[in-house]
């Protein structure tokens, strides 16, 4: 942390264009760049990899529990003799897609609740923030387990179940930004130009409140991936769709014989979330230069 401060103080950056300044700041942060490279590598592996490695992830190709690097299977085979490398690619697509979709759902709810609470204040704020607190009391995983159990395990219910329980942090961040920005002069100026509430919220204040929300959204993707992994590990995901967590869950009974079948997908999740959070830290430093001093 100290190193970052030092870099920022001695850096010769003095651009007039804030976007260029931000980009430059991001690329000066080695950890963030490393995270970005890792993330791009993972995306390439997951989405471009299947073009080169065309083994069907659901097909039994060899004896179960073939060790990694044996018989031509780089990551070995699972309990049904399926190729784990293919499973990593196919599962990664689903894990990343659900992570993104669920984070978008929680971003949507959180921004809506937070911006109305922060903009209107008074009774509306009180009610909306009590509503947010209510969702903080429910143990998130249990609640989404209940939703999936009641409405059936499909990609849609899993995504919604994750999104519905994890928006509270976004709402809090959005609200506090709105509280700060709505007092600023340019908002007063827009208001005196008889702008409507809707216009003020979404066109004037929200674009200026975005930086911390973007950082939060980035972290949401990481935690949504973890969340999905936990649900599918518990066996509460669509059984016809392969995801990283599902690979772990289905190979779990055999950990004492074939630990690699579980360790590999877990490592994939770990790397992905790690890359996302490194990028998030870098974004945070680049987007909120004032906070850097801490």
């Amino acid at each position: 942390m100290n190193d970052k401060v030092k870099i920022a103080e001695t850096s010769p950056i003095n651009f007039t264009n804030p976007r260029r300044e931000m980009t430059a700041m991001f690329f000066q942060n080695y950890a963030a760049v490393a995270g970005l490279i890792l993330l791009v590598a993972i995306l390439l592996f997951v989405f471009v990899g299947p073009l080169f490695h065309t083994v069907d992830p659901f097909e039994m190709v060899w004896a179960p529990f073939t060790l990694p690097l044996q018989e031509g299977f780089i990551l070995g085979t699972d309990y049904l003799g399926r190729d784990i490398l293919s499973a990593m690619m196919a599962g990664g697509q689903v894990s990343l897609a659900i992570g993104l979709a669920a984070a978008s759902v929680s971003l949507f709810i959180g921004v809506l609740v937070g911006s109305f609470a922060g903009y209107y204040g008074g009774v509306i704020e009180e009610l909306l923030m009590r509503f947010t607190e209510f969702f903080q009391v429910l143990p998130t995983l249990l609640f989404s387990m209940v939703i999936v159990a009641l409405f059936g395990a499909s990609l849609l219910t899993v995504t919604l179940a994750i999104g519905v329980v994890s928006w509270t942090a976004v709402a809090r961040v959005t609200r506090s930004e709105f509280l700060r920005i709505r007092e600023l002069e340019y908002v007063a100026a827009a208001r005196s130009g008889s702008a409507k509430d809707f216009y003020l919220i979404f066109k004037v204040i929200l674009p200026n409140a975005l930086p911390p929300i973007v950082v939060q959204a980035n972290l949401m993707v990481g935690s949504a991936i973890l969340f999905e992994a936990a649900l599918s590990f518990l066996g509460l995901s669509d059984p016809n769709v392969m995801s990283w967590g599902q690979v772990i869950g289905s190979n779990r009974p055999y950990i004492l014989d074939a630990g690699f079948a579980v360790a590999v997908p877990g490592f994939a999740i770990f790397l992905t979330v790690l890359a996302i959070s490194l990028v998030g830290d870098g974004l945070n430093d680049a987007l909120n230069p004032k906070l850097r001093q801490r």
Partner: protein, 325 residues
């Protein structure tokens, strides 16, 4: 405001939250496809429309929504959470049987995470460029990014399959059912080690980072300079004056985290077949035993609310500045 008044206010607010949980629970059950009659009929191996209608009347499912909600809420008010079709037992007694195991896991892992996290955080704050700072940075990356079940499984691979030091799961060896109490306790403690460390692994990071940040902030304040000027030893300044003031954020976060800790416990219990509420929740979900699932959701919200009230009181006790509002 005095202590009693605040307590009453917090409890009143907690009750409102609980009512909201009950309403949400009931609404979810009602709008979900399939009802109690369907699942009972499913267990009986199918039933015709006449039998289904009879079951619905018997369980009051033919009544309007609000009447049903009122019945549901008033039975919960006397802590009757209904009857489990799957276990054929009252949900409340099922929960009470499993609760101690979960509480043991949750609290022991929190105590471990807070103590170790604080220790590492203080060391890191004391020597900013030391090894401990690296540890904090590493822990915070690992704690956020590693799926908790993966950590658990890696620990099992390491400590059960490679070095057979710990048992793979469960809470007590079956052979000890007639053993003396301290033998049983020792055995439980032995089974607890891996699940406890696994669950704590998520939180080391948060607590060590928080302690470091709070300590660094406190160390810059005037009263620390005064304490040093008085000639107090650096150790005393650090552990007596500074540490006490950095406890506030730690307690706040520990309280706020509590509902997340319960979520983590569900997964850890599944990894180590720990016979707690999480395992019960999972089993009843797989068995489509709705009353038990809803009972657990209600009960764990109740626990979170109680912990939140308690956190608030502790905060007021350690930090006199909060009492002013």
């Amino acid at each position: 405001m005095n202590f009693g008044k605040i307590l009453v206010k917090r409890i009143g607010y907690g009750l409102i939250l609980l009512v909201a949980v009950v309403v949400l629970n009931f609404t979810l059950i009602t709008i979900a496809p399939g009802d109690v009659a369907d699942s009972i009929a499913g267990d009986m191996g199918g039933a015709d429309a006449e039998v289904l209608a009879e079951i619905r009347i018997r369980y009051g499912l033919d009544q309007p929504f609000l009447v049903q909600l009122w019945r549901y809420a008033s039975s919960i008010a006397v802590l009757d959470l209904g009857h489990s079709y799957f276990y054929n037992e009252a949900v409340t007694s099922l929960i009470m049987q499993r609760l101690p195991a979960t509480l043991l896991l949750v609290f022991s892992s929190q105590i471990l995470a807070i103590t170790l996290g604080m220790l590492i955080g203080v060391m890191a704050a004391r020597k900013p460029n030391s090894f401990f700072n690296l540890v904090v940075t590493f822990l915070s990356l690992f704690g956020f990014a590693a799926p908790v079940f993966w950590t658990g499984i890696l620990l099992i691979i390491l400590f059960v399959s490679i070095f057979s030091v710990f048992p793979v799961g469960g809470m007590m060896s079956a052979s000890l059912i007639d053993a003396s109490w301290y033998e049983q306790w020792l055995n439980i403690a032995y089974h607890l080690v891996l699940p406890m460390v696994t669950l704590a692994s998520i939180y080391f990071a948060i607590y060590s980072r928080l302690t470091r940040a709070a300590m660094q902030e406190v160390m810059g304040s005037d009263y620390i300079r005064t304490a040093r000027a008085k000639g107090l030893s650096e150790t005393r300044v650090f552990y007596k004056h500074a540490l006490r003031n950095s406890l506030g954020p730690l307690v706040t976060v520990a309280g706020l985290q509590f509902s997340a800790v319960i979520s983590g416990a569900v997964v850890v219990e599944a990894v180590f077949s720990w016979p707690g509420l999480g395992t019960l929740a999972l089993q009843s979900i797989l068995a489509r035993d709705t009353p038990t699932i809803m009972g657990i959701l209600f009960f764990s919200s109740l626990v979170v609310i109680i912990v939140n009230i308690f956190t608030d009181l502790v905060l007021r006790a350690i930090d006199p500045r909060i009492r002013i509002d």
